[in-house]
């Protein structure tokens, strides 16, 4: 590793504050490799990604627009102590959020008790009145969750976002591990790492466990519903369906017949019991939600509400990952479980609370202000990089409609050594663990580490110069 590797003022996952490697065995395996050899392995990895067609995005059609997702061969390491903490923190959080969803769509006790304001919940764009009074099989709403975690300069791990709808990225975790074993087998020596390979098996088990009770003789038939070949996560949909050995279906492959969902096969119609959908609520049923959706199955929600098919994740889960509701998650955990949250939230100021609003307006230059009901980064003010005019505009909006805004301090993402040309440099990372919830919980050890490949950048998104790394949980 390069001696001039400097990570001032940021928590580095590999080097301690005194520049000592936190994982001496791994540091040794890497040290004995020449820089040229490492770079060569990096190139081999990229060639393999091309040949294997591990791609993430397609715009328009035919060819040329699928991109490989850059992969960095230097792994991100997580100690078993840190992992145990994250593991129990995530289970606690998901358990509480499922109880919250059960409550929101039935009695609404938490709102009656004044812990979460009812108007906040009902005004969320992702609240689905079509789900009121319905409880999914086993009370499981979020079969698959991909929570985004970050580590700040203080060394503390925070929850940045709960992704409770269709989180993606798990296929890269599996592909990355496979790729690592192929191109850099020697760095595994002397290190004991939790395996990730059983995820597809566990996912299938989770889907089967939450099937409706009256399935036909051969056990539940599960399918994966994809928007199709032009969706940016299509590779993942194929990959997971293939790994689980289930059918990958599109909306037009499914029909409603005799009160059940059926798929059209070469031998006629066949009943489907569990749909792992990778399509948003809005699009799954044009009769219940957006009428212009051609991706979904007309009549699906009616079959769902009769209990004749399981949809994973359940429709309506989005209300629990609304940005304003997010601020209440520590209180939600306390309310249902009488426990303190193990994983802290990023401190969040709800502008609907007068003291908080006052603070936000006085500190706009330091804060990130986000609209609660928007997604995809729309309408965000990044205080430290903003102009006075932008701040004025946001201040006016916040004052006009305080309930629509939250604010958070800018957090510094931790860094991990990453190959940059001929050198190894610190680059910022986040972490997305994947949590399965059926009869019990299973968390894929580690998760997806996304890395911002540009120097100083904290944007890890694949569309904006982000890449990924293999993630090692030491055992």
């Amino acid at each position: 590793m390069k001696p001039d590797y400097a990570c001032d003022g940021v928590y580095d996952e590999f080097f301690s504050a005194t520049s000592q490697p936190r994982y001496p065995d791994l540091a040794h395996s890497l040290d004995i490799m020449t820089p040229g050899s490492l770079k060569k392995r990096q190139q081999t990895a990229e060639e393999l990604l091309h040949e294997r067609g591990i791609t993430f995005a397609v715009y328009g059609h035919s060819d040329g627009n699928e991109k490989i997702w850059p992969f960095d061969v230097l792994p991100r390491v997580i100690t078993s102590t840190d992992w145990e903490m994250m593991h129990s923190g995530l289970i606690q959080r998901i358990r509480a959020l499922n109880l919250f969803l059960d409550d929101v769509y039935s009695d609404g006790k938490i709102m009656k008790d004044g812990v979460v304001p009812a108007e906040l919940v009902f005004s969320a764009k992702t609240f689905r009145k079509q789900c009121m009074g319905f409880r999914p099989p086993q009370g499981v709403w979020t079969h698959i969750t991909g929570t985004d975690l970050i580590r700040h300069t203080d060394g503390q791990i925070y929850v940045l976002e709960d992704n409770l709808r269709c989180p993606s990225g798990v296929s890269y975790v599996l592909a990355n591990r496979d790729l690592m074993k192929f191109v850099l087998p020697e760095i595994f020596s002397g290190t004991s790492i939790a395996p990730v390979e059983e995820y597809p098996e566990r996912l299938l088990q989770t889907l089967q466990q939450t099937a409706p009770s009256d399935v036909e003789n051969d056990g539940p038939v599960c399918v994966l519903l994809t928007p199709g070949i032009y969706n940016s996560a299509y590779f993942e949909h194929c990959f997971l369906a293939q790994q689980m050995g289930i059918e990958l279906v599109t909306g037009p492959d499914l029909v409603i017949d005799g009160g059940y969902v059926k798929m059209r096969t070469t031998h006629g119609l066949k009943r489907v019991d569990v749909i792992y959908r990778r399509i948003d609520d809005d699009f799954i049923d044009p009769l219940a939600f957006r009428a212009d959706s051609a991706l979904g199955v007309p009549g699906l929600m009616e079959v769902y509400r009769k209990g004749n098919v399981t949809i994973a994740n359940a429709p309506g889960t989005g209300v629990a990952d609304d940005k304003a509701v997010y601020a209440y998650v520590p209180r939600i955990i306390e309310y249902y479980l009488s426990e303190e949250a193990i994983l802290p939230n990023v401190p969040t100021y709800l502008c609907s609370e007068p003291d908080s609003m006052k603070y936000v307006l006085e500190h706009l230059e330091e804060l990130v202000v986000k609209p609660t009901n928007e997604s995809g980064g729309y309408g965000i003010l990044m205080g430290p990089m903003s102009t006075a005019a932008e701040r004025e505009k946001t201040a006016a909006e916040v004052k006009a409609n305080p309930r629509n805004f939250i604010a958070q301090p800018m957090l510094n993402l931790s860094t991990v050594p990453t190959i940059a040309g001929d050198d190894v440099r610190p680059r910022h990372v986040d972490l997305r663990p994947f949590i399965l919830y059926g009869k019990e919980f299973y968390i894929l050890p580690g998760g997806l580490t996304r890395v911002a490949l540009k120097e100083g950048s904290m944007i890890v998104n694949s569309s904006q110069g982000g890449g990924s790394k293999d993630t090692w949980v030491l055992t």
Binding site: R52, H237, D257, R264, T266
Partner: protein
């Protein structure tokens, strides 16, 4: 399996086979035209005629030069049957059903596609001397066939893929034979001359058939060449072999499904099983003398029509989605009326 998936499998292999056969077409024309200094571009126009692409070609080019024809057949994306277009479509189908085919198959198709795209970058060079590139196309196709044979379960999905490939091959072998007619018929006086033998050898070679032919017949006789390519029982590119093997694949699909099709054909003329049995029978009963009496060109034409009918019948029986779709739509509007799922058209 899903109708949509079966459809994709069928076309995936069909397009791959098409790419390989276009390479073969070009190869035979190249061999025949080299050494024919009197009419250097003549062979190339007949290649377009035999392929039935005249209209498409003439919209894009004014003259039949070697370079134009090669570009049209290899790289032109506006020609839906070019090697490039075939590869694009084969890969798109493969990508759509990536979860159904084996990893080895996907990787071999993806690599095949990447190679052709890479070649596109050096199109000028390749158009000057396409031999090496064409060889690579054939090899890549064989590699994919090998991967499919060795790594995919020989069940329903495999059988649909087999049918796509073999029907395409039956069609293309018959067309390659037809090329001979366009090229050599005007020179009837040369039958039996050395020149003629060179050309017939090239024809056989283009189907990788020369050595296999020699084992059966020894000397080259036009009649025997036609017999070999049309009626041989064992040669994997002969029309008869392709039809018989397609029939076997369909038979296996039907057996496995206890004779249930997504849409039961209304009549024998729409029944793929019946149509295949008919052609198979015809090819095993006929002698090459019968064929020649009938006229080779007419016979080949007839075979091509039948292959197309079989493809249509398979589509209606297994792949088509629209009939159920209509019923579902009407079910929605009539709210709750019971559906009949097997449409009898």
């Amino acid at each position: 399996m899903l109708s949509r998936v079966a459809d994709c499998l069928f076309w995936m292999t069909r397009y791959l086979e098409r790419a390989e056969n276009i390479a073969r077409f070009i190869h035979v024309t190249q061999s025949i035209s080299l050494g024919d200094a009197h009419n250097p571009d003549g062979q190339w126009s007949s290649l377009i005629f035999a392929n039935g692409d005249t209209k498409q070609y003439e919209e894009l080019y004014r003259t039949y030069t070697r370079r134009n024809v090669l570009e049209f057949l290899i790289f032109n994306r506006q020609n839906p049957n070019s090697i490039m277009s075939s590869l694009l479509k084969a890969r798109e189908n493969a990508r759509t059903i990536r979860e159904v085919i084996s990893v080895a198959m996907w990787e071999s198709i993806n690599r095949f596609y990447l190679r052709v795209r890479e070649a596109e970058q050096h199109a000028d060079e390749i158009l000057k001397n396409p031999s090496q590139f064409l060889d690579r196309v054939k090899r890549s196709s064989h590699q994919m066939i090998g991967a499919m044979e060795a790594t995919m379960s020989h069940g329903e999905a495999w059988n649909f893929a087999q049918m796509g490939r073999l029907l395409e091959r039956a069609d293309m072998t018959s067309r390659i034979l037809d090329v001979k007619y366009f090229i050599l018929l005007p020179k009837a006086s040369q039958v039996g001359s050395t020149y003629d033998i060179v050309q017939w050898s090239a024809l056989l070679e283009s189907s990788s058939a020369l050595l296999m032919y020699r084992k059966v017949y020894g000397r080259i006789e036009p009649k025997n060449v036609a017999e070999f390519l049309l009626l041989d029982r064992h040669f994997p590119r002969s029309v008869r072999y392709c039809i018989a093997t397609t029939r076997a694949s369909l038979h296996s699909i039907i057996q496995d499904s206890q004779h249930v099709m997504a849409h039961q054909p209304a009549s024998e003329q729409n029944d793929p099983e019946y149509l295949l049995a008919q052609v198979d029978q015809q090819l095993s009963d006929l002698s090459i003398e019968d064929v020649i009496r009938q006229g080779l060109h007419q016979f080949v034409d007839d075979i091509q029509t039948k292959v197309s009918d079989i493809g249509q019948a398979i589509y209606h029986a297994y792949f088509e989605l629209s009939p159920i779709q209509e019923q579902i739509q009407s079910q929605i509007t009539e709210s709750g009326a019971s559906t009949q799922t097997q449409k009898q058209s």
